[in-house]
Symmetry: C2
Subunit: 471 residues, 2 copies
């Protein structure tokens, strides 16, 4: 469709482009019934100009569980795209890929620069997210054809998908549309998951902030318990997220500075739960320290693979929906050891806690977004912007590039040598890995004692497709 477009309205230059190109935006859109686009004018040495190419738009979507910094990636994408004349508009799918299938797009170009800048410090998904995994082409050809119709109608050349492992799989399937259905689109994956379980990246944006939250909360609550254990609560249990990988629970280990500091017991999904060993460990900690702090991953499971607390329902990806490990453990401690206990379940509080985000995490989230745009412009497809650890002390990192085929559907769990031999703590190697990820405090601005989080207008792009599509 791009080749059939002709400029309407007034051509206006915006910004200076590198390498002899000057950008001119054709201000068209809703009124003309045409997709927004930008044409690039090649300035010849003689001063003449001619249309060199027609720019494509980006379709950006947030996917899966949101984080404290996924909007920082969105900010990186949009701000970078705005600086590149070769890119037209950035459209965001409302509520993730579901919005794309429904042709429910948001024109981020209608948001002022100040509003986009504030996304950097705004948690959760500014455009909405969803849990929806595209099935294979053979199983669900209609969905892929619908996406191609959408891409054509809105001049989409770049699909930037911001999510975790399941989303990487969806992004990979879209990246294959050129080969499978003949539509030229470049799909770039922008990593995001608090679970830190994506392979081929040192760590995942979103994780550093939840790790910082959990480490700080563990230290704070432990001071509380230590203050009162002599006559009150002896065992405190904090349940963290982390369905199959123990990274989040592991981060609680950073709360400890000295031997015998809390947490005294960390329960990882990677280590089969052994009731007697657990109870012995808790009791010995109470005897030795006067109290015991337990941090339990929601994915803590028995030797047979069943979760300690399976709520019985499943999410859209077919995963068991968990919850309630902490009260289950509390009940066990009460009946078997008789200690007074308290328990906390941080749930969404941990992944939305932008008020205490890691500075490293915010920077990396922004950087992978910005890099994804550069990769798109460099003609890349089926890749993920990754984080590479360049140096440990002082910590240095850079954005790398990973083959999406090797990312999708692979879960990176905790290496065994990050977990102490008894299975209840983290090792020095884990501490070395985790520490730089929680470094730095990137505080949001406040007004009247509350953080000022941005709410975009999220104006819809006029629909161009005649057919509705049921998701």
């Amino acid at each position: 469709m791009a080749s059939t477009l002709r400029a309407h309205g007034t051509l206006r230059a915006h910004g200076t482009a590198p390498s002899g190109y000057m950008a001119a935006a054709a201000k068209v859109g809703a009124k003309c019934g045409l997709a927004a686009f930008t044409v690039l004018l090649k300035i010849s040495p003689e001063g003449g100009a001619k249309v060199a190419m027609t720019s494509k738009n980006i379709l950006y979507a947030q996917s899966g569980g949101v984080t404290a910094v996924i909007n920082a990636s969105a900010c990186g994408i949009i701000e970078t795209a705005r600086r590149h004349p070769a890119i037209g508009r950035v459209y965001a799918a409302r509520n993730g890929i579901v919005g794309a299938l429904r042709e429910d797009l948001i024109d981020t170009g209608l948001e002022p620069a100040g509003a986009i800048a504030k996304l950097r410090h705004t948690p959760a998904g500014a455009f909405g997210s969803c849990r929806y995994k595209l099935r294979s082409l053979s199983e669900s050809r209609a969905e892929y054809e619908r996406l191609i119709d959408l891409f054509k109608a809105h001049n989409i050349g770049y699909f930037l998908y911001n999510g975790g492992g399941d989303s990487a799989d969806t992004c990979l399937k879209v990246s294959e549309l050129s080969a499978t259905l003949g539509y030229p689109v470049q799909a770039i994956h922008v990593p995001k998951t608090i679970d830190n379980d994506l392979p081929l990246t040192d760590n995942c944006p979103g994780f550093g902030s939840v790790a910082k939250y959990v480490a700080i909360s563990t230290r704070e609550a432990s001071l509380d318990v230590a203050s009162m254990c002599e006559s009150s609560t002896k065992v405190f249990i904090l349940e963290t997220m982390g369905r199959h990988a123990g990274w989040i629970a592991a981060a609680s280990g950073l709360a400890a500075e000295h031997e015998d500091d809390a947490p005294h017991v960390i329960l990882f999904p990677e280590i089969a739960f052994d009731r007697d060993r657990f109870l012995n460990k808790v009791e010995s900690s109470v005897q030795q320290n006067g109290y015991c702090v337990v941090v339990a991953s929601e994915g803590t499971r028995h030797g047979d693979g069943t979760f300690l607390s399976d709520a019985g329902s499943r999410d859209a990806f077919g995963h068991a929906q968990l919850g309630g490990v902490a009260p289950a453990l509390a009940e066990l401690i009460k009946t078997q050891l008789g200690h007074k206990h308290h328990w906390a379940v941080a749930d969404y509080l941990q992944r939305s806690a932008r008020h205490i985000s890691s500075g490293t995490d915010v920077e990396q989230a922004y950087a992978v977004g910005a890099a994804a745009v550069e990769m798109a412009l460099a003609g890349k497809n089926a890749v993920m912007a990754s984080i590479e650890r360049v140096a440990q002390q002082p910590y240095e990192w850079r954005v790398g590039e990973a083959d999406l085929k090797l990312v999708a559907n692979v879960e990176k769990t905790m290496p065994r040598d990050y977990i102490s031999p008894d299975g209840f703590g983290i090792t020095g190697a884990a501490r070395e890995y985790l520490t730089p990820l929680i470094a730095g405090e990137d505080y949001p601005p406040y007004r009247n004692g509350m953080p000022e989080y941005e709410r975009l207008r999220n104006v819809a792009v006029p629909r161009r497709l005649k057919q509705d599509f049921r998701v």
Copy 2:
């Protein structure tokens, strides 16, 4: 006993005292088998000096559930006492009043000024706290006699008790020792409770910080839920502390900026839970906004006064130990409405969250501590340092003085006009009251991504009593 003390060792001046007094500390102690003391030398106009009076020591104790800022009060007490030559040492009872009965005292004078200064940003109880309420003199005369023995042995003239309503009752009983058992001691109550339920004070130190935590957490988690409600979680429930008063749950209302903003339902202990009205309210919020955020006080109760979730055990004060309102409500929503839900129980995380303490709260906690020392020096007894709201806009406050008899055992619950007519939200009056209490961010210092909280050495004062005392 003070009158029988004679100076041993070398007299050394420390600091300059106001109003013509010069302080001189007699460096005695463990080796001499005498309590530490300070003598004041009156400098006459002629330059002569004579002993004018013998200074008394302070016994300070933390009581009940600890908070993010109770150590700021300790900091205010110790720093102020150190500036006053008329006060000897500040001893802290280890683990609250229990430590006093056991003669387990900490000599805060052995901590360097830098360590004491860091208490201002260190959460929980630096000297340990307890839940222990002295019974009446007729019921438990031995405890009071023990305290008097302790006071005599350690030259205690001032008892500064840092706690909530139950602790105010203990403090009041100690204040009556002069009259009942003839020992001259001044007891000053330093208010502390996240529950904000003390009378005769505009608000209670500790509350502002938990209020800020709950308001921010509600706003953040609500953005998370709003991001994903289209295809995922529709109802989110946050359980807060607050056994009999709904102040903490009420603070979540500050998360809302606009009509229809979360939280959509707040459950207060002050309003009887009505299952059908609750379910209707949740369902209508889901229909109207796409999601519903519920903030439930742990003290939410049925019309007959029974708690929605009573864990069945009781604490040392005889209060029911609560927990699990959130999962109980989640189960109700799941079975009756069928919505996908998530729930969080912040538990100790909320009251220890020094990383996001309210600036107002930290200042007030420090100020009531400092004022209590001034009150002691002014000869006061059986009073509580209170917070008085002087002006609303801009907010101004000062420390006042309340009669402890009118404070002890009185619970200040939410006024009905702070709760919206339907019982599920807060009014403008409540918002006006709450807003200044969460104002300001008083961040602790960080190292390696973690807050630097102080751990005192807590060196024990040598024991002087021959008898042990079983608590």
